[in-house]
Symmetry: D2
Subunit: 343 residues, 4 copies
């Protein structure tokens, strides 16, 4: 970390400032230029908050040289993390996320009935999906909207898992629900909870893979810091998910930030998947975005599939039909193959 002091800073204040930094265990490299004094901090600067340093009246500016995330940082963990899903489940073949393949995750936004879910599960499995998604606890903007089937929905999801052998991913909204997630293979932390730090610490205490969605207005660095929360609490099985951010242009529900894929893959060793359905919010655009995400290097694609989108209780307008999904899966396999990858 580099701290530039103001030209007018007095020696007495500089000494006190340096003393404070040394007391925090940091090494100091001081350099006096013509105008400014520059202080380089050496050591574990992840604990140091830049804004706190800016509070000092002698400080002009602060620049971080090392990223504030450590466990999620590729600099300290050069190899890709590959996360094995469902290995311990009898009847489920292990699925690997990361390290070269573009894994397909599909299923309905909300679980509505056992019949609906198993029908979709069988269809997406046949088309090439390796993991089943489905929401039981649903975060909804309005208290008057359908809030998900809850525990009952979770049971339907586990029944579909048993029937098809597909590992499952579903969203956890509150710590109190965690005891119900024993047989869930991947716990999803939704975009609105990306900085629900108590929830992050809690899922850091289990060993299950965590699918961490980027918040609507979270920077990629904040996403990595939230991954760091989970990892620092003991769980290194984090899958990052780009799902669209808020921008000024609202012709799509959100703006898919496709650049996040190469950036996150470079900065971190964690797998990066993309959810094109929530990004754009309209089913006709999902294939174009899924292809773009695969071409940009995503480790997986998570899409919403519904047997009857017009009657979906949630997000029908962004769901593919099983036939549309099968067509998309086939073309994604061809895009993945361009650089030797598979779905």
């Amino acid at each position: 970390m580099i701290v530039v002091l103001k030209p007018a800073a007095e020696q007495r204040d500089i000494d006190a400032f340096i003393g404070m930094l040394k007391a925090q265990g940091l090494g100091i490299h001081e350099s006096r230029g013509v105008g400014h004094t520059i202080i380089g901090l050496v050591g574990d600067t992840a604990r140091i908050n830049e804004d706190s340093l800016r509070a000092y009246h002698i400080v002009d500016n602060v620049m971080r040289v090392q990223a504030p995330y450590k466990m999620a940082n590729r600099a300290f963990h050069p190899e890709d993390t590959v996360i094995a899903v469902g290995t311990a489940e009898p009847g489920c073949e292990p699925v690997r996320i990361g390290g070269g393949s573009a894994t397909l995750i599909a299923g309905p936004c909300s679980i509505e009935s056992e019949e609906q879910l198993t029908g979709i599960a069988q269809a997406v499995k046949a088309a090439g999906a390796r993991i089943l998604r489905g929401g039981a606890f649903k975060p909804r903007t309005s208290p008057y909207s359908f809030q998900g089937l809850g525990k009952q929905g979770l049971e339907m999801l586990l029944a579909a898992k048993k029937l098809t052998g597909l590992p499952v991913v579903t969203e956890l909204m509150a710590v109190s629900q965690l005891e119900l997630f024993d047989d869930v293979d991947i716990i999803q932390i939704g975009a609105r909870n990306m900085q629900n730090f108590d929830l992050l610490k809690e899922v850091g205490g289990c060993k299950k893979p965590i699918l961490l969605k980027r918040g609507l207005a979270s920077t990629v660095k904040e996403l990595l810091m939230s991954a760091e929360y989970i990892m620092a609490a003991g769980n290194e099985n984090v899958i990052l998910c780009e799902r669209g951010i808020r921008s000024f242009d609202q012709y799509t529900r959100n703006t898919l930030d496709v650049s996040a894929i190469p950036f996150l893959k470079k900065e971190s060793h964690l797998p990066v998947i993309v959810d094109p359905s929530h990004a754009c919010g309209v089913s006709w655009m999902v294939p174009a975005l899924a292809k773009a995400a695969v071409a940009a290097g995503a480790d997986g694609i998570m899409t919403e599939v519904h047997n009857n989108p017009e009657c979906a209780l949630c997000d029908g307008e962004q769901s593919l039909t099983p036939d549309e999904f099968a067509e998309l899966a086939a073309v994604l396999a061809r895009y993945a193959a361009v650089e030797g990858r598979s779905i």
Copy 2:
């Protein structure tokens, strides 16, 4: 709600669509124009999700005529809600938020020690603050940053309350902490938890005033929907708080959305306060923004005050000193008086 159907919509599909809407208890007014068929929905449309209607292949567009919030809506509750704080506490004089005054709330970002807190509390009280703020549980972007003193901090806050008679407001981050908040006068829901719907439902179950901060990238309508969650769960004592949003220009930490004040006051009967400290993130700008907020009609101003900003464990760079706060309070009183209000 107005639904415009596509010109090519077939009668059979229109009939099925109308049947589906009637089955949800809605009245239907159908109108056939030259090109488009238009359907007006009459009844409780707050339950209807516009996007779900857009999933129908015969639907071209949907326009909401009535706002999706009801309890927070001024249309159904024309008078200003005035929230009494601290009335039941012996030794505390009741403070009223809303209905004409510009209440001052002040205190440190984080509670650091009993000595620090009581010193600040006495200073801000003398300067005109009516409510004491202080964080015990702190949401921090990094797991390596100071996370607040927790339960111990809360005890210090309650001691300061006892000493000064000032009602107190502090942030609740998780349902599990709620049992510690019995003597807290106002529960703050932070910006990052504005759409933590389980937490909203939980605080909807108590009767304490809730200070609900707008999320960094939440629309004013989403803020009102989150207020609606709390109100629908039984607690109508909600104070809305504008604290800056994310924009492309980052010369301030966030962008204070001053227009939110007149908009929220027009759309809702709930009090609206402003936090200029978090909005701009630098103490020298706080007075200008606080004055702007009062002039725009805010029901209160919440600022950070620290006796020694350079040594604050959190957000020192945006904290006023007690002297700066006293000066600001005096000038805010004069701005409030322009249109006959007081602080």
Copy 3:
């Protein structure tokens, strides 16, 4: 266009409002529901400004049913527009943009010398580029930055065209420069001039292809309206270019809005190309974004290539070397081939 009137609107005012609309040549379809009166406007509503209608005190809301662009609208021109570039130039083979291929455009950000430019031109041609780009007039944020070689740079560009046979594209910043552009094949209108309406009208008066870059904070609909300005002035040869938008996250210079590709292709018949270099601002990320753009359906990719990026007078940090470009072109050809396209 659908206009919803307020429930309290009086008949006298409604009659006056309808009279005003009829006087503008619009057909009216009036429908009285239980609460609201709804007015459907039939005819050429492109001339009608929604906001003007909202000024009427009896108007509650306005919804546009037909897009405000006509000539750029695919609804009225279903086939893809294919733009032939350089056909009239002896020694240049015609290049077609649109209609299936993913044309590569490459060259330096700024033209610096004849030697530099011809070296790069030959290299990118050998690698597969079909059009040469190079800036002579440069829009720079600072008046103290290099502003381009101007007329002299343009002469170097035309010399490189003559030498290599590649058609050329370069930016026009002011009407007064237009007389110098006679032998330029494609005129680029830069992002900062997307709503310089006088410039748009002026290039609408010539027949050359216009490469219209999306403004940093322009919606896709505003981009189409700017294309409409050019087309309404008589020039239908417009190429749309997505080059990144401003968002709250600034880890890239701009945020590539990959969704704009399928949206613009659906809404309009005009070709859509992508500039990944300006979108991300760093050369290492250009290949990932270029691949994503091709997979999403872009009709072309425009990248910056410099023989010595470290010494570029402008935007060196986002320029590929000729070798990197050759490698990228080869892989883009394979991505384009997945769905039967070529570069």
Copy 4:
């Protein structure tokens, strides 16, 4: 400017890099820390582009210490610039913008007729406006919208000036119109032209006051750089105008960035005015924003006033009536008086 080199940078490359910097006339202060080498640049760094330095493969990061604007910078010009308007016009009393007063500028968005304009001009003058605004050349998103009366409108504006003695401000859209602006007192550069650098250079060549509007997605630093363009070309009479920026929340047309007022006043000596009409786009919200702007320290307020907003050819929904303006002017005078200012 501080340049941090990568730990792996080799001495040979560092020497070449330093040689390149020295060749540009910069002084160098080199400092070798434990991990990184840091280079401080001394001299006129305004000409140096940070991104160009980032292109060097040995460079890790660059931090600017001095702002890239010089003439607009308060550091080099501590006193407020006060701009005298209309001094040379016989019959007009000189109006001063900056230095303590909150000058009111009012008039219609578009000039529609002589009768309309003179009526409004007399009304706003009586209410306290010191300068008359009115658009003759109108930048419109759609080519099919009313584009202003042009030269004829300008003549009406000058007639209204003669009649009322009010100095006038109107927008210049193209260099070719400049010859018509001889008797205009303040030339407005609109938001969409804030980075039309040729136009900026051109108005830098005259001595008239320039009202420079901030672009919809321009940072405050870019606004200052555009002012710098005008000043560097010889015209130091620049008035900065905040008029709302684009954000994700679109309940107002734009988001008034009230923080820009104190920031620009601190960074620059130029006057800062605010246009609340374009910021919010709805007349009922204009008074709240105008009051906020005055309280935050704005040197002036520019509002749209129309005698019959419902029939305005442009932006009627955001125009105040003359009576509403008179009421607002009276209350703004009281807000200005709080800290000893006048309108």
